[in-house]
Symmetry: C2
């Protein structure tokens, strides 16, 4: 089975991570929609990203795409909703890893890093963690109006943080290797959605009672570039790695 | 027409640049074959790269893949020949740009840069230049044996340079944006093959009498990662940008 005789099956077999836009573009303030939810769903059933105008964090789980509002509540996105930036993939069955209590996101990150070191840190990974949490600390952003400010300024003013306590739900986790920093976050990126699909966000920290992780390794990366003029004009090499790290990890 | 109902046509419509491995991996000394010529031809009819064991520069033109030997001569590659690194795409018809005399590769690069600035420097470009040349200065490398040295050391010892005079042929030119430096060369990368398909190489300089350029802009990048253990183990963030630039531009 190969690409030209059966490309759908081949692509699904290859299980690419599909990405729209680059993280650097988002960080520099390009929040214009570059694709739609409908288009995004063609490339994956699990993923994370952000909506047009920085109007909420995006989480794609179980073939459904959710928008996180300013109070941390989740709303099912419409097919025509526009998406600024996202990474998605098709999650496949495989070995699951039983997770005991995790006192922090760093602890989970450490455990996942160990697994990635064994399997090859230069590949890409998709992990779904289903867990019971004492606490999930998360954020989203409020809708911006053009001309858009840089993402660091948006977070300073229009970031909304919330803590969910005693909740069951899923973490969507994507890992990108060092050499793709700027294109995405090098290392891990976590979004959360509760089992009832009522709340979630970009995750800063967790306390997990127990959980299980399903980890997929992938060796194909597909990136589509935005067509908006702001992307064409951006000096994308100017976003610093420190800035990316700071923004993704919540100012730590 | 979309990806899942007609992915072949969609992919061809999107006209991705397909890449196997990363330039950084090659520069750090990973010359193990990561795919075959047969596989590569499924993803493009034009391209450039390098063969297994650094055994010659690769040029793909008119659906045929050539290997440049140590004396600068070109040999049609076998379908089972292994490829370390390559960027390929399907070249589409479009407007051609008539080129007058070009006294250097820098002059051609400048002209192409102007065009890219107009069309958007954050996209990817494929250019074919058919020309009559007073002079083409090129290089290839001699086959290496494992354990492989870093590419800079290979070039110091086993690079072979040659000059072709009064020759007609084609330049295969790929442009990558700044934010993909390391994954590939930011800016332009040129390989040459003469009209008779008898000689070529990685291009350092040209003097062109006249020519025409066919430029394609693309907004999709697809990258497959090698499966060899050396790729899994490499510290890919350690190859410096200066090193990449020096190697690609011939120590200038």
């Amino acid at each position: 089975m190969d690409f030209l005789t059966s490309p759908v099956r081949y692509l699904k077999k290859k299980q690419p991570i599909y990405q729209i836009s680059t993280l650097q573009s988002l960080i520099m303030g390009n929040y214009y929609g570059a694709t739609t939810v409908e288009q995004l769903l063609r490339f994956g059933d699990i993923g994370l990203g952000m909506f047009h105008a920085a109007d909420g964090e995006l989480i794609l789980l179980n073939h459904r795409c959710y928008r996180i509002l300013g109070d941390g509540s989740a709303r099912l996105a419409a097919m025509e909703d526009r998406v600024t930036f996202a990474s998605v993939s098709f999650l496949e069955e495989g070995d699951t890893i039983s997770l005991g209590a995790m006192e922090s996101l760093d602890a989970l990150r450490g455990l996942l890093d160990e697994r990635v070191e064994l399997l090859g840190a230069n590949n890409l990974y998709i992990v779904r963690v289903d867990g019971v949490f004492h606490r999930v600390a998360a954020r989203t952003e409020l809708k911006q109006e053009p001309p858009f400010k840089k993402f660091a300024e948006v977070l300073a003013k229009d970031e909304r943080r919330f803590v969910f306590e005693n909740i069951s739900g899923s973490l969507v986790c994507f890992y990108f290797p060092q050499y793709l920093e700027g294109v995405n976050t090098a290392g891990w990126h976590f979004h959360f959605l509760d089992d009832a699909c009522t709340c979630g966000g970009h995750v800063f920290d967790i306390e997990m009672e127990r959980g299980k992780a399903l980890l997929n390794k992938t060796d194909r990366f597909v990136m589509d570039l935005p067509h908006n003029q702001e992307f064409q004009d951006a000096a994308l090499e100017n976003a610093s790695k420190d800035e990316i790290r700071q923004i993704e990890q919540g100012g730590k």
